[in-house]
Amino acid sequence: MADHLLEVRGLKTQFPTKDGLVRAVDGVDFHVDPGETLGIVGESGSGKSMTVLSIMRLLPRPGRVVAGQVLYRGRDLVKASEAEMQEVRGEEIAMIFQDPMTSLNPVYRSGWQVGEPLRLHKGFKLAASLREAVAMFGKVGIPEPAKRIENYPHEFSGGMRQRAMIAMGLTTAPSVLIADEPTTALDVTIQAQILELLKDVNREFGTATVLITHNLGVVAGMCERVMVMYAGRVVEEGPTEDVFADPRHPYTWALLQSIPRLDADAHEPLRAIEGMPPDLSSLPDGCAFHPRCPFRVDRCLHDTPPLEWVGQTQRSACWVTQGGADLNAATARGEEGESRV
């Protein structure tokens, strides 16, 4: 179905290293529709960043996409030539990165850098691009933009830089904006501001936004849909409310458990996820999560569950929930299950 704005099918990205083959992304499917905001959640190393870098074809060496398609407006970016990709990057799909401190080139003035996409893709002259940059600075809430474009990145605060990055991403009015952990490097108050900004951007420009984060709170605040990744695979996907209200994958469930809730009953203990995140170069057989899974059944040990519809709106990759089990309800028994191990 090519009517999605961006659709990823069976994407596999691998890193051949001397310690073995790392399956960073292992068969990921998802789509983004115009104007919507999708959140991708997961621990570090779950493959969220690699997924988007695969889409942008910006994988660090020696990573390469070994299978799957990335359909943007029906065109497969995996097969696209480097030249075509350059047209897509920055113009169609813009991306902003985790660490604003290092993501701007220290030796060029911020305005120069923010205006650059326009000069690259829209044939702006320098002066024009700078005028546009001033405007964008205004839009992303950088005070006295006319002055600020003269500054070098190191003269900006972290938040300012991230705003500048966003401005840079939006100058060309792309239809997709990928934000890879845009707030992790910032302190809490700034985080809120940046998220607000992203929301406004999404509303104002109608830019579809893919927000990568390990912070469920952020997703809850921002995203219409959420996609949970574990060990390079999508384990659950669905509308944010539904997923949060009724997680259909033990991992999601565990993640939610680990968030302190004000509405939570004081006696209920706060659970951290036990065990270690998996080693991508040697994944366990069956469901990658099973070593840490309190609900694990025998089948989990050798068969890898596919991502299937469970209920109307959610999809999950778990034999247990696909079997119709309700995790929230099952919690108690889950503990017994745990103790059984």
Partner: protein
């Protein structure tokens, strides 16, 4: 800001320069004994004459007096006169400087001009055949004795080629004595020495550019640049390169003193009439006024070189601009 910084640096360098001159002065004197420059083992020289000339030249005065007079001279911009031929030390330096500049600057420019593309290519094709080739060459260039390379080149390009009645290159000097001095002629003489010298610079700097380029290419802002969807060439030459060459500038700036001592061996091997050779000859002849002049000059160059490096650095890398 920068100006103030510069002034501070210059002031700070004065004691350094003084230290250098004192050191030279003492070393030269400790070595000279009762020798009077220029008066060789000539049987017709009488002790009385030598003694008289010594005192005329003031070589018999106490050291601090001699140094003092010299220093006062310097303060008045007078570098004194050569003990060997009585002509102003400055005139020697001024006459030799152009030749030395011709050689060293050519070599440095060649070095920079070639090392950047080489280094970048190496960084981009990291681990590839070309990269390994460059690496090998530069490692060789760093290990080859300049004077030996010089001799080999002379042996082949001037002696052998001429013996084979093929077009050959001059083996020494900066220009032919007759009908010489025109550009082509000077170039002919420049080829061999400049090659030797720049080969060295090239081998050092290309590795340098390569490694800092490799480092820069792994930086986030390079990924950002790519994410903007710009051609790789632009990514490399606009966004990465400038960051990569910043440290190179320092390195090149620090080469300034090489104007005096760096090219020395090459100048000696090729009989290049430069400051290095002058310094070497005069030092071995104990023409200490000349040597003092040159060391002072050299020390100033070092200071100036570091300064220049800093300023350029600041210009290229805004982060430390007002440091």
């Amino acid at each position: 800001m920068l100006a103030k910084y510069t002034v501070r640096r210059v002031l700070a360098s004065i004691p350094v320069v003084l230290g250098v001159t004192v050191l030279t002065f003492l070393v030269m004197h400790a070595t000279a004994g009762s020798y009077v420059p220029g008066l060789d083992l000539n049987p017709y020289l009488k002790p009385a004459d030598i003694a008289r000339i010594r005192s005329n030249l003031g070589l018999d005065r106490p050291l601090y007096v001699q140094y003092g007079t010299w220093l006062i001279g310097i303060a008045h911009g007078d570098f004194g006169r050569s003990l060997l031929d009585g002509s102003p030390v400055m005139s020697h330096i001024v006459e030799r400087l152009p030749n030395t500049l011709e050689l060293t600057v050519t070599a440095i420019l060649l070095g920079v001009a070639l090392s950047i593309p080489l280094g970048v290519t190496g960084a981009l094709r990291r681990g590839g055949k070309i990269d390994n080739l460059f690496t090998l060459l530069s490692t060789a260039g760093f290990a080859i004795p300049q004077f030996w390379l010089g001799l080999i080149l002379i042996l082949f390009f001037s002696v052998q080629l001429h013996a084979w009645r093929l077009p050959w290159l001059p083996s020494g000097g900066a220009f032919s004595s007759f009908n010489g001095g025109d550009v082509m002629d000077r170039l002919e003489h420049l080829v061999l020495p400049a090659t030797v010298l720049s080969f060295f610079y090239l081998s050092v700097w290309s590795r340098f550019v390569r490694s800092s380029m490799v480092e820069v290419l792994s930086q986030d802002y390079v990924r950002t640049a790519r994410a903007k969807g710009m051609p790789e060439r632009r990514v490399v030459y606009v966004h990465a390169l400038r960051n990569a060459v910043v440290p190179l500038v320092t390195l090149v700036g620090l080469e300034l003193p090489a104007l005096v001592s760096g090219g020395l061996v090459v100048e000696v091997v090729f009989g290049w009439p430069g400051i290095g050779r002058l310094a070497f000859e005069r030092a071995t002849q104990y023409d200490y006024t000349t040597v003092m002049g040159i060391t002072t000059f050299a020390a100033l160059l070092v200071v100036f070189g570091n300064l220049l490096a800093d300023v350029l650095y600041a210009w290229l890398d805004p982060r430390i601009r007002y440091a």
